[in-house]
């Protein structure tokens, strides 16, 4: 699955080639609930609309089936794939992230570019003892979602310490 290493260039390996961290075990459940909150009302709305609009039987049935299958897939199938894809590694020099459902992306952010760190907790995530880390650079931010709250707190402290080296813009 994650086969890209950095075999042929000089220097010590990137943090992601040394040790990779996974998101929390509860990430799948968290994403499922989060998706369900959006997808189920949408599927219900599509059903109601299809029935109420008096569309011809075949079309209405198709719409309803497609809506529910899509909702079910988004809730049941995607979160485990997403968690399997996700890894992160925080080294002294870089933050290394790997994620993506269709387009798989590995992002490396040099630690000296990190300007500040945010820790986000929503009502659902704090209920599940989860948190999200957001690393800000001069050109936008990157996020690590669905982390165990203690782990997120550790990352925040670690990055804040490592990123303290002043950076000239």
């Amino acid at each position: 699955m994650d086969d890209e290493r950095s075999p042929r260039s000089a220097g010590p390996p990137l943090p992601g080639d040394v040790g990779r961290q996974r998101l929390s075990d509860r990430a799948v459940a968290y994403w499922r609930i989060g998706t369900a909150i959006v997808a189920l009302p949408l599927a219900i709305a599509a059903t109601v609309a299809a029935v109420a609009s008096g569309a011809p039987g075949g079309l209405a049935t198709t719409i309803v089936v497609v809506a529910w299958v899509a909702a079910a897939a988004a809730i049941a199938l995607l979160p485990p794939i997403r968690r399997r894809r996700w890894w992160y590694a925080i080294g002294e020099e870089e933050v290394d992230l790997h994620h993506g459902l269709v387009i798989v992306t590995r992002t490396v952010v040099p630690m000296v570019r990190v300007q500040h760190v945010d820790l986000h907790r929503g009502p659902l995530s704090s209920q599940m003892r989860l948190a999200e880390i957001e690393l800000h650079t001069a050109a936008g931010s990157v996020r690590i979602p669905a982390l165990d709250r203690d782990e997120a707190e550790r990352i925040r402290l670690r990055v804040a310490t490592l990123a303290r080296i002043p950076d000239d813009l």
Partner: protein, 543 residues
């Protein structure tokens, strides 16, 4: 606050120490001692600005009131003058404790303080009015500032501008902070305090280059849009009967007349574009001192801009569609946190012959090297470069074929054809090169753009793989600069992309020999030093 206008007049500071002492313990006591107003010529500048906003109202009034229109105009003019006077009276600036403070506003007063340490550049421009009175408009830029200058003083004398520059640590003398990209040959020279300090000229546009720049500029389309929107605005302003008449005349005229009108509009747009470029880029000169580049340009409105060398994150060498056959290029600069993100302001060199680019870059931003040659994506990536544009062209073509009547439907074939041409151009342009000091990425989209970035300042590097790429062992590499603009190269070998990502963030060079497979006709580069001149990939400029 002093109410005596004489005390506020911008005569040069009595204390000469002000010009040389950028320390927080400036000349002004912590009090309000040295608070100043803009030059009274601001009345004219501000008045005209207010008047410009009142033009629609003025036209409306004249049209609506006819005889009393003149009176209304006078009243409007009085409003404009009054507003300017009030604005001039309440706008005061001072250098207090090493920071520039601007107070303005009558009813809702605002106060803005910019510490000297936050000032990234002090630029100036001179419009017609400023020239008339021998003034400059001073723009104080800060890192992380938006599009607008942080503080803009639109009418100050030359001496006052120099005094402020000095007080903010941006005088003609090299600043105390040494740049990250110091010039190897030019040690700190004795500072000449005059504004005409003879910094070496790195680039000066020639009349020939100016003309070519104007005639091949990409602004034509933009101007056409601007003329169009202006016309639609004008319709709102003009009296209804006039537009109706015009509409009637138009609808009753044949297609020949319409085509002629369109052609005329295009011609006007071209002329306007040419004149605009000439006015903007005339007398374009770039000078360089220890820590910054100074850009001076413009005919009617003379502008100077400052590019601190230690904030340069990269440059873009842009070879436009019309300019490339003539072997000309434009150089744009990527500066972090510098206001004026538009194309015109980012332009560092409006036009230069491609052969002169490497030498010019060396003088402009030493440390950023023009690559002698580029590595190419592997040969198997060729069809992937073509697939997407051909497919997109085919979709457009099919849609066009369905919509167009009869024989014109054949035009739909143009879609995939143009797609294939674009894909081929993208494939031919794609390339990369990495040394410890320079990351070069080249791509094509109408213009061929070569991004030269400082690897140590790249904000992040990502390698993307979509399902097709995962099957084909390919990947796309993208980098984001602090200017939020990206550099990207598609369809690299996945191992090359990973190694490149690693080498960029670690600032080691990477020569790609082991993994990059060059296509026929474009030999793989081994080392910049050993590259024979005849071995360049197609289109690469020679040294």
């Amino acid at each position: 606050m002093t109410s005596d206008p004489g005390a506020g007049a911008p005569e040069p500071a009595p204390e000469p120490a002000a010009a040389t002492d950028p320390a927080p313990s400036g000349p002004a006591a912590p009090g309000e001692a040295d608070e100043r107003r803009l030059h009274p010529a601001y009345l004219l500048i501000g008045g005209l600005k207010v008047a410009k906003n009142l033009v629609p109202a003025a036209i409306g009034l004249v049209v609506a009131l006819k005889e009393t229109g003149l009176l209304a105009l006078i009243a409007l003019a009085a409003i404009a003058v009054g507003a300017a006077v009030v604005e001039w009276r309440v706008t005061r600036y001072a250098v207090v404790d090493g920071a520039l403070r601007l107070r303005s506003g009558l009813l809702s007063r605002s106060e803005r303080v910019v510490p000297a340490s936050r000032v990234s550049a002090v630029d100036s421009s001179r419009g017609l009015i400023q020239r008339l009175f021998g003034l400059v408009s001073l723009e104080v830029q800060t890192a992380g500032g938006g599009k607008q200058a942080e503080i803009k003083l639109e009418a100050v004398t030359f001496d006052e501008a120099e005094r402020l520059r000095g007080a903010l640590g941006h005088g003609s003398a090299p600043g105390p902070a040494a740049g990250l990209l110091p010039h190897p040959e030019r040690p700190a020279t004795v500072a000449a305090p005059s504004p005409a300090a003879p910094a070496p000229v790195v680039y000066a546009i020639t009349a020939r280059e100016l003309l070519i720049a104007a005639l091949t500029g990409p602004q034509l389309g933009i101007v056409a849009v601007a003329v169009g929107s202006l016309a639609s605005q004008a319709r709102d302003l003009l009296p209804e009967r006039l537009t109706e008449d015009a509409g009637n005349t138009l609808t009753h005229s044949g297609p020949g007349t319409l085509a002629l009108l369109a052609l005329g509009a295009l011609l006007v747009a071209a002329v306007v574009s040419t004149i605009g470029t000439v006015l903007a880029f005339a007398e374009f000169t770039v000078t360089r001192d220890e820590t910054r580049l100074r850009v001076r340009r413009g005919l009617l409105t003379e502008r100077t801009g400052t590019v601190p060398l230690d904030r340069v994150h990269g440059v873009r060498v842009v070879e436009g569609l019309l300019r490339r056959p003539l072997r000309y290029a434009t150089i744009q600069v990527e500066v972090a946190g510098y206001s004026g993100e538009d194309q015109l302001t980012r332009t560092l060199v409006p036009l230069v012959h491609r052969d002169a680019v490497p030498a010019l870059l060396e003088r402009l931003v030493p440390g950023l090297d023009w690559p002698a040659r580029l590595h190419r994506p592997p040969a198997r990536a060729w069809r992937r470069y073509l697939t997407a544009p051909v497919a997109a062209g085919a979709v457009v073509g099919v849609a066009g074929a369905l919509l167009l009547p009869g024989g014109l439907a054949l035009l739909g074939l143009l879609g995939p054809l143009l797609g294939a041409l674009a894909g081929q151009a993208r494939w031919r342009a794609a390339g990369w090169h990495l040394t410890p000091g320079t990351l070069a990425l080249r791509s094509w989209w109408i213009s061929r753009v070569t991004l030269l970035a400082v690897p140590g300042r790249v904000q992040r590097v990502a390698v993307h793989r979509n399902p097709l790429q995962r099957r084909g062992g390919l990947a796309t590499l993208s980098t984001v600069l602090a200017t939020k603009r990206r550099g990207r190269i598609a369809q690299l070998d996945v191992a090359t992309a990973a190694a490149l990502q690693h080498a960029i963030v670690r600032r080691t060079g990477f020569d790609g020999v082991a993994v990059a497979a060059g296509p026929a006709g474009a030999p793989i580069a081994r080392d910049r030093g050993t590259a024979a001149p005849g071995q360049m990939p197609p289109g690469a400029p020679s040294r």
